[in-house]
Symmetry: C2
Subunit: 496 residues, 2 copies
Amino acid sequence: MTSPGNSFTSAVFPLQTMDVPGGTETVLPGGRHLFPLLPAAFAGVRRIGVIGWGPQGRAQALNLRDSLAGTGIQVAVGLRPGSASAPDARTHGFTEHDGTLGDWLDVTATSDLVILLIADAALAAHHQEIFAALRPGAAIGLSHGFLLGHLRATGGAFPDGHDVIAVCPKGMGDSVRRLYEQGGHVGGAGINASFAVHADHSGRAADLALGWSVALGSPYTFRTTLAGEYLSDIAGERAILLGAVHGLVEALYGHYRLAGDDPATAYERSCESLTGPIRQTISRSGLTAVRDRLGPGARDTFDRAYTAAYGPARELVAEIYDEVADGTELRSVILAERRLADRPMSRISGSPMWAAGRPVRAGRAGRAGRETDVEPFTAGLFVATMMAQVDEFAERGHPWSEIVNESVIEAVDSLLPYMHARDVAYMVDNCSRTARLGARRWGPRFQAAYEQIAFPAASAPADGDLVSAFTGHPVHQALAAAAKLRPSVDISVPVA
Amino acid sequence: MTSPGNSFTSAVFPLQTMDVPGGTETVLPGGRHLFPLLPAAFAGVRRIGVIGWGPQGRAQALNLRDSLAGTGIQVAVGLRPGSASAPDARTHGFTEHDGTLGDWLDVTATSDLVILLIADAALAAHHQEIFAALRPGAAIGLSHGFLLGHLRATGGAFPDGHDVIAVCPKGMGDSVRRLYEQGGHVGGAGINASFAVHADHSGRAADLALGWSVALGSPYTFRTTLAGEYLSDIAGERAILLGAVHGLVEALYGHYRLAGDDPATAYERSCESLTGPIRQTISRSGLTAVRDRLGPGARDTFDRAYTAAYGPARELVAEIYDEVADGTELRSVILAERRLADRPMSRISGSPMWAAGRPVRAGRAGRAGRETDVEPFTAGLFVATMMAQVDEFAERGHPWSEIVNESVIEAVDSLLPYMHARDVAYMVDNCSRTARLGARRWGPRFQAAYEQIAFPAASAPADGDLVSAFTGHPVHQALAAAAKLRPSVDISVPVA
């Protein structure tokens, strides 16, 4: 892909310029003080239809309704006939009685902005019916690029005569709601989002997207393209956001067990260290802080692990990116959905490390005095993999806001905290089917690369050039710029 | 795919009918007594051009030359300009001086049968030049279906006016030559082959293919289609022939190590047991013999391992088959070749188990009295995976000869003995690039499936129905029928 050009203008919202390596990017810092501008951004929109009630649908419907309260703009939820989600939607105040809950095609036909948040497989199967039901001039809203990838793979297209916009929160639906609620009393809480204008029929598509993002509570919003969002989102979840994390902790758990650790200790040094102190350090103080705070011996371990893992991780991220860009990865998802139509997907949560993890997670409350350490070997492998994704995305021309959000911020502020609470395998087994299939497809590749290539190589001395490239990397500037605008609160996830 | 119909006729060779589940298949039993019929089979062919001097090219050129000695049919080798293989070809008696060694396009232009045995990537890049150089009416010979897959993926086609035939030995090039040489003094030594007639311009294509197979020394030859060969070949090497074996031994080595074994013992129980006694038992006595010869306790271990592994292995073989049939797998190979154009593929032979294996393999000569046992857990997982491939191939409509050769005989009589001598990782790192990329892609998937799904499930009781389905499976009849015609000698591979 080529960079979409990251400057943009708004007739409604005050924008800001953020310094990034090699230039600047235009961003929209969010906040509740902007809510009075929402009617202008949503001009012409009297009803918003949120189609689907998964985690993302629920969060967006609730945030939009809260943010637009008093404006006269109605938020309605559309569900497929017989949806099991209807009772939960009613519990949250969307009801047939007041017209805010209904059949997905009816809600589509009566809304001015139709936000499609049903599962990928449902979107692939039913987008044509939904397109056909749209009222003339209604805007189509998406929260990731999957549908674009699907349309390209199948020779389809978006219908003419409609704005096609995307607002893509860089975090899970649960976080989108939880941080919005915290944002009611803590300024700046929320999940960053990218926006894209894929078709601008009205001439006002960008402001509509920006208004949607502000109403979701995004602390800052940056520009991308739908294609760029698709590539970075699908590739990212297969790499550092999910697939690589799963492969890494499985490989590390076995590694520490073989080195003599008991199961609980091996779990702590692999998974617990990663989802706990390593991710906290990155979230609060940036990537280099992980290394800087280690003593000389531990730092050498970090550097050797970093050196050993960067090459094989980069090779895998490049392979993933190629297959996502080529459509091969999406073909694989479509084939899997067909094959799994009549049987359940097997679960990966049965391996010994997750049994070992249960008491560790359960015992956290009782050992306030015993903090899990930053394990330098674990940290070196993880940071190297994260940097491999940063470098690959940069080489492919993504804007820096997208790179740091898809490679660092979404990981350390949204996904890893969730994994910390529920464990990595639970997350893989319970995320979106596209992500779940991707993690099952690529996690083992990362595991094998760590075990067969990185671990044996980590006994060699560190590569000073590679470590210097890390410590002096321009991503740290981009991350610091983004950090100024990022959520000011930790995301808390209750332990299951 | 649908079954190609497995009966065929020959105007030259005496055929035989083999009983298989649900009917019969026509086969051609080979042997040196048929060599006097070769001139009739090759009628009109005065010169055979073997393009390429990899293991398969060398073996086929040498076997063809030896079998056709005295017939007046010349065998020539064609190499690309500057090929590093020329000195070795000269050492084996193919020389520019007598016209049996030359530029690949020159040899193509002067041959009546052009056998394309260059690497897949070279075939993908240069098949159009080669097609353009063919003399009118010359036959095109292939030894696997890759080119068909590539042409389909890229919208190309074979040129009109030429026979397009395939003879596909179900073993590595080295085995094709070694067993042919043994066949000079031991009847029936050789590698079984399938043949396919993709285009029959001359009306004599089947006999030409059968003559080629007899001249290679194939103990028996069965019919398939080029598409069926492609699917079973590419899927098979990603599953039980290579990818699954690599994933299995890596998973088992870690499993036994964690259970307390020292490295040498863990290597023996995983890799050595599999490539030694387990594969010998299957080769000599069939699949059920592995289980039948175990005592009651060990048999229960086998059954539990079989039960635990069959499901996840079947799921993976189905996924592989889907992606090969869809073209997704070949897209991935093409993308990888592009990405790796300017850097070497990383090696997987550095993991600890291969270091552990070296002394085990080296010590074999000195411990004649200490035989490696059939490890029942290892055997149950391996046989389950083999049966998963057998069942998937049968469900997809492959002929039984193809199923047993691609799923059992090629494994136990060609590839596993080679792995026994050189180790599995060496084999992965040194096989064809298409196979190597496939093994790297799918081996880790099998490893993860064993570790995360099968190993935890193996503590549950065995599934009696699944075990009965194995012991009473029709594949045993097909394998016994094929065994009557199979090589009468063990394939010996010198330890490196």
